[in-house]
Amino acid sequence: MALQSLDIIRRSATTLPEPEARHAYTGQVAKLIDTTKCIGCKACQVACMEWNDLRDTVGTCTGHFENPHDLSEASWTLMRYTEYENPKGDLEWLIRKDGCMHCEDPGCLKACPSPGAIVQYANGIVDFHEENCIGCGYCVTGCPFDIPRISKKDKKAYKCTLCSDRVAVGLEPACVKSCPTGAIVFGTKEDMRRHADERIEDLKSRGFDQAGLYDPAGVAGTHVMYVLHHADQPGLYSGLPEKPRISPMVRLWKGSAKPLALFAMVATAAVGFFHYMGIGPNETDESDEEAARRELEKRP
């Protein structure tokens, strides 16, 4: 949705200049998810559904704690649980709140062919404007974190908005508000990085030597970051990508291939134009028409 108080700095598939009068002077925002404080209570999932007026279906149990089983157009965030036996033989239950990472360099936006269906605000939030979505699913391909989901109902793409409507009026996202242990916190990216440093220091003092912050450079950093006990192995956390980057196909298509494609289109038009001007329009004679009739008669 478009919000007056949030300036759009980037829009999918458009070359119009963006407004620049305002700037995120107080700093870009970030949500920090501390997996080491998370107890997997799913309050964030419920708060997300409540604030955004979403109701996923009442499913079934498949023998796992995750419910619903995957992200969907009605589940924009999901707790994912991994049972991990560490080298010492102790069990760890690694619980990660999955959802949009709000990349600084968003693959979905890059891939999107529909003007204005995906935008990035000055504060860093990446938002889908479903009214412009054509349901092509390129954003799904473009996302290195496998987040957007296409609704079966309206064939449009949905994902976490980082509660852009709440943030626009100075509130924290609903999941942050509901988190009982303070495992999800929200503020400027700078403050969140500082908070993460304190948490990492505490974790190191408790024997997690590899504790660290997940803010991957491959997408120029994210506006949703994780504190991990094992930052050296993000894959442990239900397959969090170790080095996420936008798919080379998207880069090719929207990057170096884009001017080439543009050139090809212009060249085709030019060739057509010069053909018309130089040789004249394509015309048919009697023998062409006769050949066409024979072709038609061959068909049953």
Partner: protein
């Protein structure tokens, strides 16, 4: 809780055992997070399952369900043998030096005075030696062969780490690591809090598990201090208020017990509850019982309660036995109960052994359900296929459903785990024809009263004379009730020191229970709540979170019983001279003239410490009891007994004694005993528990909760799953000797097989939630499986340890 939720942030070590705070109390658990973040606290979780709490713990240890006393007994032994006790605290503030009667004995798992026929004890030997001066005898050198210190050491000497490992299945090294961490709080400047819940109460030895935890805390000097305490996390909103108001069958409000049938005489009843000091210059606060009791009787019966009729003592029932839940359902099952009101209660789902419960409900003439929801109990008679396979044509019970409002649709007060009475305001009006519980109860009462008035009866006086001075007879307001249960003056009260001075005018609210009198001039429906609605108004509605000392003592937020005190026994946070043991989190101190500080002193406010008055003022000894005297059913020291459905068939601590396998003092009805299963047929140990996503059987009616945890499952370990050929997501059948359920198997690493006395045991986790009503996927009721046997003191059912067989469905 002896302490309160916010105070947990002051802890250096947090022991979560007999509970799963992160799972069941996620909002309160934030204070554990605070302790870890700001206090470098270490979190220890001991649980049969690797839980949500364990997922953020520094140390986790598995334990076989029902063996917590062995673990804690081992810890007591460890603390005593390694001298990891806060010696000054323990010597001064506990009964360690008290000398026990010569006749007291403990042999082969049984204490002196046992009667095998009655399954109970003659407890006369379980007491101190009392001298000619009427005081208990002590030996401050702790050398006496019968002083509590000697007996305690002897008793737990058997609980060596190897024995604990054999009984509990907890790996010894992990156990010792945890004990060492716990022992680090024996210094005066370190505190440990214990957070427990139904994981301790729901055992046939549950009360003694809690006692064992409290004994550990006393030895470490962790009772009465900030960041310490024994903290019971109450699961059900206002279950704390329920016990405070005496809604147990043998209780009156404010922890005064009802008379037994042997106590027909008022004077004797009162004398037994008016406790004289057992040591010189001790406060023994229960000396004030007559003031509390008379004020209660005045609140209930007004002018009909007078000195002439012993304050209407004859109106009170005199109990022949305890009428707890299990007893009442036993009587119902025998056809001796005609009608039953289930008010905000779903016994078909919540009581053990569903088959027995169904048969019992079917024998009622009428059943009244007061509930906002269509509960399983309200549909016990309807066939729901395999989930509730009854023949409706054979059930004649008439069921009335009276829809009530829910908590958010009414105002009033709830008592939190922290003993805080917090007033709340209604958020919405109830739907349709729903009425508040108050209105429904008032409607039933006024109709009963007019029937008694018209038709008479065996003894109509208690009903006809009940005080009922509410503006709307059929709808007493929460405010009116609050003024009544907190208390006010019935006459002008004169200052005892200066009779010309009136301290409180007739009709005025009282500031606290110190103003209560035993001459009928005051009334208070629950003495411990006295002052909550005081002369200044409704203190429960206060919302000032000012915390001047920074340790979470927000004395102007709501109101805490007793006397707005936030940490019980806080006098024990100071040394004998009245100086705080830890100045960085001082609760109170003696300033030379009076006690005061960040909390309301739990002590006589002007008592000079030099006088030797001790901190545990509710005990006539003035000190805390490591030796419970005659207050527990099964013995003065907690002893490990196996769950009634034991996977071993013997008690490794008392292998030769067949009477000491299970709790020797438990009450077991013959039909329930016959329904126990044996390990040969049911080899797996089951334990029930709750999930964050649900609240009992309510939230399976709520769509959001149903979405995030839609269907019943049971948790089994990977080894057991392999043995029975089940993979995660497949359906399993779980059977006990009382019935079976089917559920989705959740195969997990979080439950591991335990090696117990050389035998490999598998634990099965069965969540309590889901039934055949509601929005979630319909499921079997867990209590189809559970045995009907209770703790010997509280009769709380043994839901946490019983035998089942798991197989592929």
């Amino acid at each position: 809780m002896t302490n309160h939720w916010v105070d947990i942030k002051n802890a250096d070590v947090v022991l979560v055992m007999g509970g799963n705070a992160a799972e069941a109390h996620p909002c309160g658990f934030k204070w554990v997070t605070e302790a870890k973040a700001h206090n470098k606290a270490k979190l220890i979780v001991v649980d049969p399952r690797f839980t949500r709490s364990a997922s953020v713990a520094d140390y986790y240890a598995p334990i076989r369900p029902g063996t917590d006393i062995a673990f804690l007994g081992g810890l007591i032994n460890y603390l005593l043998t390694n001298d990891k006790i806060q010696r000054e605290y323990v010597v001064n503030y506990t009964d360690l030096s008290f000398i026990v009667k010569e006749e007291f004995a403990f042999t082969d798992g049984l204490y002196s005075g046992y009667s095998a026929d009655k399954h109970s004890y003659d407890k006369s030997s379980w007491d101190y030696e009392v001298g000619a001066d009427g005081y208990a005898q002590v030996d401050p050198t702790l050398k006496h062969p019968r002083c509590v210190y000697t007996l305690l050491k002897q008793h737990y000497a058997r609980y060596v780490p190897e024995m604990v490992e054999r009984v509990c299945g907890t790996p010894k090294e992990r156990m010792l690591q945890i004990w060492e961490t716990i022992a680090s709080t024996a210094t005066p400047t370190r505190a440990m809090t214990i957070m427990y819940a139904l994981g301790w109460t729901q055992h046939s030895t549950g009360s003694q598990m809690i006692r064992a935890g409290a004994m550990v805390q006393l030895l470490l000097g962790n009772i009465g201090v900030a960041g310490g305490g024994m903290n019971a996390l109450r699961g059900h909103s206002n279950i704390q208020g329920l016990t405070d108001l005496g809604l147990l069958s043998n209780q009156l409000p404010g922890y005064i017990s009802l008379p037994s049938e042997g106590e027909q005489e008022y004077a004797k009843y009162l004398a037994a509850r008016t406790l004289k000091p057992l040591r010189p210059n001790q406060l023994s606060y229960w000396q004030n019982t007559p003031k509390f009791f008379v004020s209660l009787m005045k609140a209930w019966w007004g002018d009909a309660a007078s000195a002439q009729n012993n304050w209407a003592y004859d109106y009170l029932p005199k109990l022949d036995k305890l009428y707890d839940m299990l007893q009442v359902y036993e009587l119902m099952h025998q056809g001796k109960v005609n009608g039953y009101i289930a008010q905000g209660f779903n016994p078909l789902a919540a009581a053990p052994n569903k088959a027995k419960m169904t048969a019992a409900l079917a024998k009622l003439k009428f059943l009244i359900i007061m509930d906002p929801l269509a509960t399983e109990t309200s549909e016990f008679w309807r066939n729901h296929g395999e989930l509730n396979d009854v023949d409706s044509s054979k059930i004649q019970t008439e069921v009335f459903r009276l829809p009530t409002t829910c908590f958010a649709e009414e105002e009033g007060t709830l008592v939190s785990s922290a003993r805080w009475l917090q007033w709340h305001w209604k958020g919405a009006s109830g739907p349709g024809e729903a009425r508040s519980d108050l209105q429904i109860m008032a409607g039933i009462f006024t109709r009963m009263r007019s029937m008694y008035a018209k038709e008479g009866g065996a003894f109509p006086d208690p009903i006809l004379n009940l005080t009922w001075k509410y503006a709307q007879v059929e709808s007493p307001s929460p405010e009116e009730l609050a003024r009544e249960y907190t208390g006010n003056a019935l006459k002008d009260l004169a200052d005892p020191k200066d009779p010309t001075k009136i301290t409180r005018k007739a009709g005025e609210q009282l500031a606290g229970f110190a103003e209560l009198r035993d001459d009928g001039s005051t009334q208070s429906g629950c003495w411990i709540f006295c002052g909550a609605w005081g002369p200044a108004g409704n203190l429960m509605a206060r919302r000032d979170n000012t915390d001047p000392t920074g340790i979470g003592q927000t004395l102007n937020w709501a109101w805490s019983w007793p006397a707005n005190r936030r940490v019980l026994y806080n006098r024990a946070s100071c040394d004998a001279a009245g100086k705080p043991y830890d100045a960085s989190r001082a609760l109170i101190s003696w300033n030379g003239r009076a006690w005061g500080g960040a909390d309301v002193p739990d002590f006589k406010v002007d008592e000079n410490p030099a006088g030797g008055m001790n901190p545990f003022i509710m005990n006539p000894e003035g000190v805390a009891r490591l030796f419970a005297r005659a207050n527990m059913a099964e013995g003065p020291f907690p002893e490990h007994y196996e769950p009634f459905e034991t996977p071993l068939g013997y008690n490794p601590l008392n292998p030769g004694q067949s009477q000491a396998i299970n709790n020797p003092a438990a009450r077991v009805f013959p039909d329930d005993r016959a329904a126990f299963g044996k390990a040969a047929q049911f080899p797996h140990v089951a334990t029930t528990y709750r999930l964050t996503e649900h609240f009992h059987f309510w939230t399976t009616h709520a769509r959001l909760n149903a979405i995030i945890q839609p269907q019943k499952f049971v948790e089994i370990g990977e080894t057991l799953a392999r043995e029975i050929g089940v993979t995660t997501g497949e359906t399993v059948k779980v059977s006990s000797n009382r019935g079976y359920i089917k559920a989705v198997a959740m195969v997990t690493k979080r439950i591991r097989p335990l090696k117990v006395d050389g035998k490999v045991l598998h634990t099965v986790g069965v969540p309590l939630h889901w039934g055949f009503m509601g929005t979630a996927v319909p499921g079997f009721l867990t209590n189809t499986l559970t045995p009907s046997v209770g703790d010997a003191n509280s009769q709380t059912p043994e839901f946490k340890a019983f035998l089942v067989k798991v197989e592929k469905a």
